[in-house]
Amino acid sequence: MTPAAGPKIQVQGVSKTFGAGPALAEVDLDVAARELVCILGPSGCGKSTLLNIVAGFLAPTTGTVRVDGRPVTGPAPERGVVFQEYALFPWLTVTGNVEFGPRLQARPAAERKRAVDRYLDLVGLRAHADKFPAQLSGGMKQRVAIARALANNPAVILMDEPFGALDAQTREVLQDELSRIQRVEHKTILFVTHSIREAVYLADRVVVMTSVPGRIRQVFPIKLPEIRDRFAPEFTQYEADITRVVKEEVAKVRE
């Protein structure tokens, strides 16, 4: 299978069992190149587990994950990860963090500088290039983390509730920014969230998972323009449709 023809990310029959019991059951999911797919589900449904398996941090109990047709066996620079906890290296400046990947690949200084400038411009942090993470707000830290992931030029980007630790306003600002970045960069992104609004705002497709053990309940292709209006009737219609399905799954956990 040539990478261009097949899906960028291919999850086949992936399940994961921890000591207590199954967390994920038989998940199949394809993500096409340049597609942003949001995974949505009640907490504890295994959506982060799925992302960690794709990232290579966890091995699946059964099934395989392929990126560009090659099976995933561990973390690798082809799969950039953005974490909820930002995970910036506190001893490196903003620049140092963004050029961490290119430095490991021993890219020449001029090329590194170009990458740093470009991605800091993209996230609007050029003026803060020499600051340390301790000097940044949560929103700024997550922008640096996004710039760091992009500067390493990965084939796919995995985002694990990246805006979950931010306040509501900052969260929407960063959603706007990610949407703008995606219109420029056209990356293949797998995005885990528990916010339905966030998913409808960002995704080309929203994958709703069932409660434990997590499997795919329903897939909603979001047929909305690239630049989205959170108050458009079509937008709220998607929100309502997805909310109904998610609520059923949350109710199952309560029973």
Partner: protein
Amino acid sequence: MASVVSSVSTLVESGLRGPALARRRALALQLTAVAAFLALWSALAGVVVLLELFNPIFLPGPWLVVGALAELAVKGELWVHVAATLERVVIGFGTGAALGVTLGLGAGQLAPVRNVVEPLVELLRPIPPLAMLPLFIVWVGIGEPSKIGFITYATFFPIFLTTVTGVRQIDPVLLRAARSLGARGLGLFTRVILPAALPDILTGLRLGVALAFFVIVISEFIGAEHGLGYLINDGRNFFLVPQMLGAAVVLGLLGYAGNGLVRLLERRLLRWQHPA
């Protein structure tokens, strides 16, 4: 006495970060405390002399201590002793730090190393290092190797333990982030594990410096011909109390300076913790 006060004040000053008002006020208070201590000491020594309470040789005033030091300094003897002590501390501490950091990094990173080294360390650690000194002398003899080896032995433990802690406390999310950016093996070690563990390693070095000065004195009591510990013991034999106190003061200043050096290193290397 003035020279003691001024050298103390410059040392105190270099230990401060900036001329902020609160800091200046703190500095004033610290200097007042030192001055008050010296004044009290002087007054006590004066009272002893005036009222002939007991033989003033037991409690010489600070001026006599400074005088004894000045005399030793002029004769050139003081520097020989300072150099002897410093040499032992630098070599002993340097070796202990190198061993402690290297083994600590290994044990922190690799479970097999940890499982071999840690039980041995835990077995030896509760034994006060001073209890091992006679053994060192029996094994290695009374010369330089036993003194230096003893410092190495004593400083190894805190440095090893803090290094292991530093490595083991690294946020696993940082390691995941580094791996998904392509870091592995040596790159992961030098670019992530080492800088992440550095704050704890430096804490260990600071503890190690203090311990080095702590144990060197005692090993210089036994079978040494030079060194500040020797100077104290020699003073005891000949009832030269000002010399004993003088050597102790110099040891205190050296320890203070050693601590200051590590703190300086911390401020340089850990600027990211409190960026301006």
